[in-house]
Structure formats: structure tokens, C-alpha cells
Amino acid sequence: MFNYGGYTGVLLRVNLSTGETKEDRYSRSFAEKYLGGNGFGARILYDEVIPKTDAFNPQNPLIFMAGPCTGTSLPGASRGVVIGKSPLTDGYMESNFGGHFAAELKYAGYDGLIITGKAEKPCYMQIQDDKVEIRDAAHLWGLNTYDTQLRLRTEFGDPNIATACIGRAGERLVRIACVILGVRAAGRGGLGAVMGSKNLKAIVLRGSRGVRAAHMEELMSYTKDLIERMKTNPGTGQVLPVYGTPSVILVNNKLGMLGTSNWQSEVFDKAERISGDLMKEQFTVSNDACIGCPIRCGKHTLVRSGPYAGASTLGPEYETLWALGSNCGNDCLESIIKGDRLCDEYGIDTVSTGAVIGFAMECYQTGILTPKDTDGIQLNFGNHEAVVTMIQRIGERSSGLGELLGQGMKRAAEALGQDSWKFAVHAKGLEIPAHSARGIPGMAVGYATSTRGGTHQDGRPTAERVGAVDINEITGKGQYQVNVQRMTTICDSLILCRMTEGIYGLTGITEEHARIVKCITGMDLKVKDLVEIADRIWNLERAFNIRERGESRDSDTLPYRFMHEPIPAGACKGKVVTRDMLETYLNEAYEERGWDKETGYPTRETLFRLSLDELVDDIWR
């Protein structure tokens, strides 16, 4: 009998080809081995993706998961994750989101939703507790994400329904399309296009049940203590509630680590104009929180005057300020607010979008792209109008450059040729976000070894950047970052927000994580047990990538720019990741992981130790 707290014990399966729905009750041992969230998703993905098929193959699953913590009172436990084979990277992809969709999924009685097949015509799915319907979405197809969700709220007469949907980009299979959930995004890796490939426009959720924790009294007392700690912590209690993540812009610029003009530099001389300070003073109108979160880091902004008057968005976050701002040499904050909203409405990832526009600007700068290729757009760094126009063209999948950039930077560089690959700043096909690999050694390891590619959500920059770990030290960073990845793997399985990492643990799995697991699920696991679970999940993701895209040690690398062009100015002037440094990092990381140093594959012994015996033949035959 499945009796752990935090779980519903049920996964909802929907086949859009046949219209069949089914409740899957998973076993106790499945929860013990994979914990939840991305752990469940990684296992299901490995087992159910038809090997080496296209990400848009209808039989391949698109998975929405909550975690055992989701929907409980635990601070930072509002989040969910979308998981699938990425059409951008052809590998494992998970993309986390906030808001209240994941909690509502639990309240409806499900830990996850596994969608397979392809509807004959555009549809949306309505889930209200155990009632599941697939409905015609002809009236929604072609609408942007905000209009889609508002229309659904009106139709259902319920402003509090949780919704997930795609915009026009997802419908048109733009490979950097995301899923929008309320005003939050599951941004990375193109999973919105996978949703579009299934003709699924939206999901509407309403649940009426609760979530039971194993030790409710202890959870309440622990929650109270955590909220107090978060309030008294200057990061979670003061800077994030007041400024949100945009406060990092000026700090990273001062540190010489703010990617500028497609990472040609890491100092933006106009950073003040896209700063959190300016955003707060001139544009922020209110705070926003995910369900049950005491931090309230989200910021609603509004442009009141000028050419972008009326533009309003939730954000932009630090990543977006970088992507559409300094990375494009753009100092017009109003245009970034406008661009952020446009990205959300089209349903495209702001990080990848800003990254590919910055890349195209450098192509224009170097003559690889000409005015003829851009339909006359002066695609110069700093041209905010060009940034906004290119967002529209990518979102619409307009023929020409819009179509090309929507395929992602790796494919765009392959198509454009010449020397464009030298400044195509991606890892394994996923565009690098706003954290310096040249300035932060651990981030270099994080990007090179992430199972997703260019993300700062597997490896993390935080501990080195804030001084908890020595940023100037090179030796040991491979092993260090594996421990960080173990922490993020467990947090993405439970699922916990990264904004709480300073409270729960920055540099690895801690007793706090073990306490959370015990309070909520009742599993009495030690830190070492959680490390084993994290390793099992990570090795599954690695095995998926080995199978699907032939991943190996050679794939664990960094963009040419980061390994051949030292940072030209600022506090990090001269820093670069040399080949020797990368090889050392990889050797350290593989040693810690129990991977073969020549191939980068998990060894047989490692797979047996993690009870992943069935992967041995897949990898080593």
C-alpha cells in the first residue's frame, strides 16, 4: 500500500491520438527510487521516448510533474516542471515554472500528467479532479498566451483556474517556444513546440483536494521557522522582495561578469539604464508571489510614457534584462519590458530569444548577415527597435531570419556558416544564460556537464559569486559542481525554488533537505541516501542523452568564445577557460560521478550501484 505523505500516488495519462485517459498508480519503490518531479520525469522519459526519434514524434511523451512538496505550506514549494525530449537540443530537457499550476495539479489528485499522441485538430484539456475532457480549441488557436488564458477564465467563469498554454510560436513549432502558465514560463528547451506538435493549445486545471504531509505538526512548526529565517535573511527577506532578481545586474557588471554584446565583453557601460534600481524607481507597480511563497520576488512593471507606453509584464527578471538588454547592447529598459511581454505572449523563451538576437547582431556586425538578409533592419548592437522587431519575427516564425533564429543558435550557426560558430554561445544546443563561465569556474563546469546544456539551473553560480566558495580557486571545482548538481537534482525532484537555496543549502544536499523529505513524505533518508537518489536521476538523464544524441566526453565542452577569447576588460579581465582547465574539471567531475574518463559514460559499476542495471546494455553494448 502506498502511504507516503506528499504524494497523490497517481499519474494521469492522456493519449491525444485516441482520446483515452488513464490513472496510473505507481509503486512505493518508484517513489523511493526517483522521489518525484524531474526524477519521475527522467525515468518515464527514458522508458517511453521511442529511441532516436524526433522530438516531435507524436508517440513521445510531454510530461508535467509536481513534486512531493508541491502544494504544501513549505516555502518555495509552489513549483512544477515540464519534461520532454527537446526539439532544440535533441536531448533531455526539463523546464521549471512557478505560479499555482503545479499545486492545482496536486489538488486535482495527480502528481503528474503524461501526454502522448497528437490530436487530429487543435484541442485543449480540462481537468477538474477526476473529470478529464479533451475539447476543441479552434477558437483559441492563433491567440497569444495571455488572450488564450483570459478567454478560458471567462469561459469557465472562474478567475482562479490554473492554466498552461502555448502561443503562436508553439503552434508553429518554433524550437525555442515555451509553455506559459498564468504569467510564469517554463522557458527553456523548446517544450512549447512539443506541446504544439501534439495540437494541444492549453490545459485548464481545477482541484478541490488537499495534500497530506506525513508529519503535519512538524511541517507547520518547520514552516514557521523557515519563514522567520527567510524574513530575517537580507537576501530572501529584503533584497528579493524589494528588487527581485534584477538587483544582480549592477553587481555582476561591477564584477565584470555581465555578458555584453553576445559575450564580446562582460562589462556593459550602460548597465545603470537596465538596472534593478531603475526598474524599481520608474517601472515597478507591484510585487507578485507564487502560491504560498513569503519572498514575493516577482515584479509587475508598466511603461507609462514614450514609444513603449502601455507595455506591462511580470518581470523582466535578471536573465531577461541580460538577454534582451546587455547581451544585445540594449540600454532601453522600456523596450525590454515590451520585449519580455511579447516573448510571453508569443510563448518563446526570453533567454534563448535574447541570445539568438545577440548572435544575429554579431553576424551583422561581422558581415555574415547583411541588410538584405534582415529585410533592411539595422541589426546593430544597441538598436532596441531591432530587438523588438526580431522578437516578433521569431515568435511569428516569419520567413527568413525570424524562421532561422527560432531554430536556435546551433542550427542558425550551422546554416549561416563562415566563422559564426566561433561566437555561437551555446552548450549542447541550449543557449547560455546570463552567468559568466569565464568569471565563475564552477559555472564553466556546470555548463559543460549539464544534462540540459546551457543552463544555470543544474550547476549554479551562486556560492562562488556570493563568496561562500572561493571564486579564484580552480582546483576541485569539478567535484564541487557535482555536489551542487546533486542539490539541484533533489530540489527539482521535491520541487523547491532556487530562490530558497541560501536557506536550504547552496553547495550540496544538506540536513535541511533530509528534514523536508521526512516531514512531507515520511521517508527517513539521510543525506547520503539523497545523494544516491540524485545520482540515479542524473545518470538516467545522461544515459538518455547518450542514447538520443550520442553524448560523450567530447560533448562536454564550452563555446569557442569562452575557451579562446579572454574577457577583454573589467574586474575579470584576462579570464578564459583553457583546454587544460576544462580537462581538469571534467576529470574531477567524472571521478566524483563514477564515470569512465575516456568516454564520459557512467561505468558499469556505477550503474549497478545505483540499481540502474538495465542501462548497462544500452550504454555499453
Partner: protein, 93 residues
């Protein structure tokens, strides 16, 4: 001796400006500079630099062009003309 101190976000608000010039005595250390800043700007600044357990919240500073961990460098002596930035204790996204 005069040093420049760069402040961000809530620290900037506590001081009312993003950069302050501090007159210091010879031999003043990084840790002593933090005490001096708290002394000048009072409780609002203390709340940004010290947590409820009395521990230092800021763990890193940029001293001129070098990022330093405070716990290993709190005794570093400052020189005339030094520029110090206090790093906010979290990362974006």
C-alpha cells in the same frame, strides 16, 4: 586615507547613495570597514550586513579588481584610494 565603497540594492538605499567615500585610519581592515559603515548609516545598514544570529551576511567583496571571500580576508588592510564593493548575497534566476 580615503576609500570608495560601492553599495547595491538595499545597501544603497540604507546609505541613500550608491557610492560613499570613507575617511579611514591607516591599517583599517575590511571587517573594520564594515563596522564603520554600520556605524555611519545605523540600523538600516546593519540589517543588510548582519543577520539575526549576528553573522555577517555579505560573504564577498570586490577589492579593486579582485573578488575576495570575507571570511578569509577580513584582516586585509586597506590602502588609500582602494575601491570596495559589497556583493549582495544571492544570484539571479
Amino acid at each position: 586615507m580615503l576609500v570608495k565603497v560601492n553599495l547595491f540594492a538595499n545597501m544603497r538605499e540604507a546609505a541613500g547613495k550608491s557610492q560613499v567615500q570613507c575617511q579611514i585610519t591607516e591599517g583599517l581592515t575590511l571587517r573594520q570597514l564594515i563596522n564603520k559603515i554600520i556605524e555611519i548609516y545605523g540600523e538600516p545598514m546593519r540589517a543588510q550586513l548582519i543577520d539575526h544570529t549576528g553573522s555577517l551576511v555579505v560573504q564577498a567583496v570586490l577589492l579593486n579588481n579582485r573578488i575576495l571571500q570575507l571570511d578569509k580576508n577580513s584582516d586585509t588592510k586597506l590602502n588609500d584610494g582602494d575601491e570596495i564593493s559589497f556583493i549582495v548575497p544571492f544570484e539571479g534566476g
